[in-house]
Every structure is written in C-alpha cells, then in structure tokens.
C-alpha cells in the first residue's frame, strides 16, 4: 500500500530524513515512533505530497506520490497537527465545507459525526468545543471520504487519557473496516497499544522496526523480577538473559553472582510467603521506552 525507499530530505544544511526505507502492508496500523524532531511529520508530509524528498522513491496506492491524481489523493484522509478548524463555524458547517469540496453528501457528514460521537454537538460553534472534541472533529474531517489510507500526525497529543482512548477506538474501528493507517506518535503506550508494525525514528534515521512485541523481545537482555511486600517495599533482581549468558564458558565470577542472586531471591520469596507478607511478584520486560533509550541514549518524550 505504501512503500518508502531510501528517502532523504534536507532543510538547508539539516538532514531531516536520512535514507529512510519502510513498507506499509494492507490493513495494518503502522506507527512512526520517535521524539520531537525525529522526522515523523516530515515523512508524512512527503507521503501526502506536501513536501518533496531530495532523493529516494515514495509509492502510495501503487503509484509514485508525484504521479498521484487528485482523484487518487481523495482516497487519503489526513489529520495533521497544524490543520486548523473554522472556529466561528459549527461542527456541521466545518464538515460541510469539505464535503462540498469532495462531493460527498450530508449522509456522510451524519455518519462521521456519529462515528466520532459528536452528533449532539452538530450545531455547536467550534470555538466553544473542548480540545478533545476539536480533535475528534479534525478526525471526522479526515474520515469524511471513507479514505483507503489514513495519515494521522500525533492524533492524541495533549489529550486526557479518556479522550485518547475514544480516539484509539475510532482508529481501531477504521482499521477493522479495512483502512490502512499510518500514525506518528511519541507516546510509546499508544504505539504499543495500537500499532501492528512500528519504526523507531531518531534524528531522521530508522533505528529499529518490527512489531512492538518483536522489538521489545529483541532487546530482552535483562530479566527483572520485582517482589513487593504488603508494606509497599519492593526488591528487584536482574538476570542477564542474553545469548552470551547461556554460554557454558561464562566467567566464573559471573556464574557465582548469578547463583547468589537466585539464592537471594528465592530466600526473599520464601520468607515473604512464610510471613504472609507477599503482596505481588512479577517480571519486568523491556518496553519501547527502554528499547529507545538503549538505542539512542535518549527518552522518547525529550
């Protein structure tokens, strides 16, 4: 559905995208995860024809972006961070302007308003809507043409968890209806929850890609066991689970340390059980945040 091959984009001296390649398959939610300035929005702009890449090849709907016709591009739904709404118009009028441009009827407006749960706010002026409602209206505008490909730039940025969840539900429903969704986010929980496939972008380069689970397992080198007692105290033990640690020729002091750790942990668990003091015991796997830290030395939110 979408393929990007060795794309490079510069703004003056600054290289914003550096040899980016990726493929988005039919029916998947594809995430571009990275901190601000990683090149996520620039990549969406190139994919939607708002910007041109210096080099590389970008194909959407089986055609080069530069060769897409107006009719092809009407199969895109685009929700960019800087696409505003007409504040003095009401929700219906905001959608009607674009419905008239796309040539879709009032039933489509009613459908998308219902989909984003804004029917009751149909005649409310946009300036009087909450931030979450405005985001839902912007999403409704992107959904108006029943697009084949949906580009969402930070769709839940700055929203409360409940509104973010509502938007996630809408996105999932669209995916189930067969829409390919490409979204950018710097929220790793959102990426883990929504995306079938992810690329981690850092300073214009893809530093990792795969399903969220694959990426995390690839960096599952340390297993952490956390024991929490009833008074809230937590004890943590870390075990090296990398391939190297399975080597029988492991250094003697490493092996001794590992045995000591195991011994210490089992004693603590037994003691907590005997004293009926065990509140919780669980393992801690690496998440996308820790993977990103391991790869770049930076946090996603930076």
């Amino acid at each position: 559905m979408i393929s990007v091959l060795d794309v490079t984009k510069r703004f003056g001296e600054k290289t914003v995208l550096d040899g980016v390649s990726m493929t988005v398959q039919d029916g998947e939610i594809f995430g571009l995860l990275g901190p601000s300035g990683a090149g996520k929005t620039t990549l969406i702009r190139i994919l939607t024809g708002q910007l041109r890449a210096e080099s590389g090849e970008v194909m959407v709907l089986g055609k080069r972006v530069s060769a897409l016709s107006g009719a092809d591009k009407k199969q895109f739904g685009i929700m960019m961070d800087d696409f505003g709404l007409y504040e003095r118009l009401n929700c219906y009028q905001n959608l009607k302007v674009f419905a008239d441009i796309y040539g879709v009827d009032d039933r489509a407006i009613a459908q998308v308003l219902a989909e984003v749960k804004l029917e009751s706010a149909r005649h409310v002026e946009v300036s009087k809507l909450s931030k979450g409602m405005k985001e839902r209206l912007r999403l409704a505008r992107a959904l108006l043409t029943k697009p084949k490909v949906l580009f969402l730039d930070e769709p839940t940025s700055g929203l409360d968890p409940q509104t973010a969840n509502e938007i996630h539900e809408i996105i999932r429903a669209r995916k189930d209806a067969g829409t390919v969704i490409l979204l950018t986010t710097h929220n790793m929980a959102e990426a883990e929850k929504l995306c079938d496939h992810l690329v981690l972008l850092h300073e214009g380069k893809i530093v990792e890609s795969g399903t969220p689970k694959e990426i995390c397992l690839r960096y599952d080198r340390t297993k952490r066991i956390v024991l929490t007692t009833r008074d809230g105290r937590a004890q943590t033990w870390s075990f090296d689970t990398s391939e190297a640690s399975k080597d029988l020729k492991m250094r003697e002091d490493d092996a001794t340390h590992r045995l000591q750790q195991l011994d210490e942990m089992t004693s603590a668990v037994r003691k907590a059980l005997e004293e009926n003091d065990l509140a919780m015991i669980h393992s801690q796997e690496p998440n996308l945040e820790t993977v990103f830290m391991a790869l770049t030395g930076k946090r996603l939110e930076e």
């Binding site: 960019m80 007409y86 302007v97 008239d100 040539g103 002026e125």
Partner: protein, 232 residues
Amino acid sequence: MHTTIAIWKKQVWDTSKNKTILIQLVLFPVITVIMNYAVKMEDMPELSYLKLFSIMYLAMAPITSMSAIISEEKEKGTLRALMMSYVRPWEYLLGVGAYVFCCCTIGTVFMSKGCGMEGQAWNRYMAVMAVGMVISILLGAAIGMWSKDQMSATSLQVPVMCVFSFLPMIAQFNDQVARVGKFFYTQQLYNIVLDIENVKISMENVVIIGANALLILVFFFLAYRKEGLSKD
C-alpha cells in the same frame, strides 16, 4: 466550480460571525448615506460625499477583507487543510474574491441608491467601482499571501490602505499631494467618478489605472511565488 462555490459558502458563514470584517463592509456605506442627508453645505456639488467615500470604500474594504481572510486562514492552518483537500489556489482565491466582490457591490449599491444616484450615471458609476474593486481585491490577496499571519498582514495593509484611500481626499486641498496622487488608481477612479454624469474618461485615466492594475498583478504573482497559499 463546486469547490469555488464551497469556498464562497464557507466565507458567507464565517463572515456573518466575523465582526471585524463585517464592520469594514458595512460602515462606509452607512456613514455615506447618513452624511449625504445629515451634513449639507452651501455650494457643495451634488453627491459629493458619495463620490469621495465610494473611492475610500473601494480602497479600504476589499484590501482589508481579502488580506484579513487569507492571513487568518494561513495563521490558523485552515488554508493548509483546504490545500491538502486538493483545492486549487485559483479556486480558493476566486471563491474568497467573489465573496468580497459581492459584499462590496451590495455596499456600493446601498450607498449609491441610498444617496439617490439614478439612471445612466448609476450604471457608469457601478462599472467604475467594479474595476476599482477588482484591483483592490487583487492587492488585498497579494498582501494576505505575502503575510505569514494576521499581525504582519495588518502592519502591511494599513499603510497601503491609507495611501490609496486618503490620497484622493487630501489631493483636493494640496497640489503637491495631487501631483503624486494622480499616479494612483484610486485618484484616477475618483476623477472619473467626480464627473460620472458626463462620462469623460481620458487616456491618462486609462493608462494610469491599467499600469496600476499591471503592477498589482505583478505583486500578486510575486507574492504567490514567494509565499503561495500553503508553503512552509
């Protein structure tokens, strides 16, 4: 064409709630009619207020409205959303321009009929005003495109508007200003409107108005090439 109509319709909805633009479009016609009946002086030629205020109106309302509409859309990101919906720049400019033209035409009809202008003179007056409005709309659009936001549009639009609208009035009292002012389209349009009952259009009128229109058209295309409607 349906895209241009959609933009036009959007502008009707938006302006009906935008007091700043509404005042620009309504204020002068109303003041003109009031002045025409309320302030009468001896030896004052007929329809003097109408003739003077009409020119001020056509240099103010279209310039400020066009530049305010375009710069606000740029600042708020609605213009980018339109461009990404594959609205062609000319469709957008035609939609907004046609709307401003209609509003100004209604204002012009209101003030001319309100002041009692009739017959062939009225037809000629409307034609002259239409020419002036088109030039001013182009100038306003160029200012709107040139500006990144409403603040920069205002700082550019105010001096331009003052020069074009006040020069014909000041030129009546000052010969030096009149010598400079005659090179502006508003002064030439004023000269035509002053004697609209007798239709005396000179070559000077035509050449200067044509040259102004050409220069403004060049500025319009430069602004379009430099900033366009949705460039970063």
